[in-house]
Symmetry: none
Subunit: 415 residues, 2 copies
């Protein structure tokens, strides 16, 4: 197909005054591009009737698909719904399915259903509601003369769920979009530019219907391969052939496929081996435990963590020697190793990860500047350590350290 044109419109003062990032626009841009749409424009407007009418008028002239987010909540400044009804010259009518869904949400949380909430079940006559299990405002979809308008709540979590569960399917059916298949490969332990260098030859040899995107995040790079064509099965196979070839040049950085997280990948390795993991965290302050326990089922391989922020906790709870703290300091290879061994013992776990460092912005010295961080992995006897040197913002230092420490264990388990 020649590309259909899409317009993304986000509504909200908090975006226009710069208080929040417009993450909805970016997510929709990515997803619609993958579906084969050309996102020609994005626009952000105020929650004002005239602005919304302006976008609808111009949008239906110039574009095939318009997606609006924001301005659907129960508060009085949310006027998107009424304006859309006015634009189409339609009345608002109560929709029984939507009312039932709103009622269920309030029952679930044991809260009284206020009049203002009941109004959320009133939608324009020609509207196809998208059922919202994640909030109280329905998504609203309109099909008009070969074009489509979708209006969604602005809360990113609700918006994404509404599109993923119902919106994209309706778009695919309505526009008969061609087939696009994409698969992602997740890497850790190598920066974007180094990875690009490493897989350059492979990338250049990709067939023309397969595109590659680098999607970096803290400590990781996700590779997304997108194949365009007509037949899903053959596209799947084509991509798999390329991923096999990729593995030959970058296998040691690849930890998984799809949406798996690094901590989940490690959890699977541990479960296969019938082994367990604990953590002893100083500078990461519980972040590694949080990443591990964010995964459902982690209690099968994770007995727990000791966050030892003070030296007393390092000694009393992890058995770090007083002499080691005095001689080497808390941020040292010696102490981080003792922390890891101590955690193995305390939790009786197969392995432990430990961290100790200066996350910043304060606490650095000439000898050990902010960003000096020791990490360790132990099986209770042997210890493997690594010195890191991150000089970013505090939270990023913490996150990068957590990823590096998990990766140190992954490499150990892969040997």
């Amino acid at each position: 197909m020649s590309n259909k044109k899409a317009l993304i419109c986000t509504i909200g003062d908090e975006i226009l005054i710069g208080q929040i990032h417009d993450t909805n626009s970016r997510w929709l841009s990515e997803e619609l591009t993958l579906l084969g749409f050309e996102v020609r424009e994005r626009v952000t407007i105020q929650d004002r009737k005239k602005a919304i009418l302006g976008v609808l008028g111009w949008g239906f002239q110039e574009f095939d698909l318009i997606i609006m987010t924001g301005g659907l909540g129960p508060t009085k400044d949310d006027i998107t719904k009424n304006t859309i009804a006015e634009f189409f010259g339609e009345k608002l009518v109560e929709n029984k399915d939507v009312l039932a869904a709103v009622t269920r949400i309030f029952e679930k949380y044991n809260r009284p259903l206020l009049e203002v909430n009941k109004l959320q079940a009133h939608i324009p006559e020609s509207c196809i509601p998208l059922q919202n299990k994640w909030g109280t405002a329905p998504g609203m979809l309109f099909e008009k003369k070969g074009k489509m308008l979708i209006s969604l709540p602005g809360v990113p979590y609700e918006m994404k769920n509404l599109m993923s569960s119902q919106g994209f399917d309706r778009i695919r059916n309505f526009f008969h979009t061609g087939t696009i298949v994409f698969k992602t490969v997740k890497t850790v332990g190598i920066g974007e530019s180094f990875l690009m260098e490493k897989i350059k030859d492979w990338e250049e040899a990709l067939p023309s219907n397969i595109k590659l995107a680098y999607l970096p995040s803290a400590g990781e790079v996700k590779l997304r391969l997108t194949a365009q064509g007509t037949n899903t099965d053959s596209l799947e196979k084509e991509i798999e052939i390329q991923i096999d070839a990729l593995k030959k040049v970058a296998s040691k950085y690849i930890y998984g496929r799809g949406k798996i997280s690094l901590s989940k990948a490690i959890g699977q390795m541990l479960q296969e081996r019938g082994e367990t993991l604990s953590t002893a965290e100083s500078c990461t302050g519980g972040m590694i435990a949080h990443l591990i326990t964010s995964e459902s089922g982690s209690s099968a391989y994770f007995p727990g963590s000791i966050v030892s922020y003070s030296n007393e906790a390092k000694m009393d709870l992890l058995g770090v020697k007083k002499e080691s703290l005095e001689k080497y300091g808390a941020v040292s290879e010696q102490v981080v190793g003792e922390m890891a061994i101590g955690a193995c013992k305390k939790f009786n776990s197969s392995y432990a990860i430990a961290t100790s460092g200066i996350a910043g912005p304060d606490g650095g010295t000439e000898e050990k500047p902010v960003g000096t961080i020791w990490i360790a992995v132990s099986n209770g006897k042997e210890v493997e350590t690594k010195l890191l040197n991150y000089q970013r913002e505090r939270l990023l230092n913490i996150e990068l350290t957590a990823k590096s420490a998990l990766n140190l264990l992954r490499i150990w388990l892969s040997k």
Copy 2:
């Protein structure tokens, strides 16, 4: 002044396909808002002549200030400059100052000055160039019949430097800008609609030059008051009067002002009292410790946490009684209380927060469904507990529990 209206236009396919965040728009939104402009719209377009002409035509009709970023580099697809010249019906002429600046940049990096780079010194006749010490493309400023257009390179670092060094000064002088003051109040422990109900009378009595916005996030609602006028000091005072009135109706939910986090606010309370806090976390899995240690300086009041995911860890490390686990189960008022008392002892801390619950999606029973969560606060002797019931996704359940547990301590400390 009544607010001058601004339009921000970013140009670039990498934004429209979702490859990068549009950080330029957000930064400009914040800065222009602080200068007293009303950023009425933001738009992102492709690097196409027709799209740029469209924005210029409509922009000069509707707005006082237009800022464009992107499409000024030396590559062939950067057509913004030529399109602006065409829009004004002007020729491009070589500007000696700009040529000198471009030449300096190339000398500095020891690179040959190519013909294509010399072209960067060609600018429309009426253009006031903004000297770029950070790259090769000048910023271009135009003053036309009381309105202003500024076109800037898309590289964030260059764009920000050009605005900060020259752009904002020229805007201030040209528009004799008025003043906007905004302040935020942070609340926790009450949902958006209930808070609205609670402060309805106060909101309705706000003077017309002060506007209120509700900005909800997990477990919290931020209130933003924006005042418009001419004098910063008197606007500050006007807002403070309203915030004092707000405190009379909603004080128990307010934990701070500005950008402070809940964990930081609690940290400040603890530091003022010279007291300390530890955590004993089961279902939150280290999230509370992570929130606390995300704040620089937290080691002054936070010795650490025991993440006791297994029953053994609850008994061995926190002193939870075996009989309590057998009689009441791990998710019980009894056990979460013993966890809190145990953490106070182990860390010798003034207070401890404890959590135990079923975060989901698995692990629920008929008696204790997913979302059943007990939280506790203790000072080592007394214990206060609360039963929560969240039925969201695992990560949201964890985050809401962490916020509720921190809030339970905040309320204790506020008594």
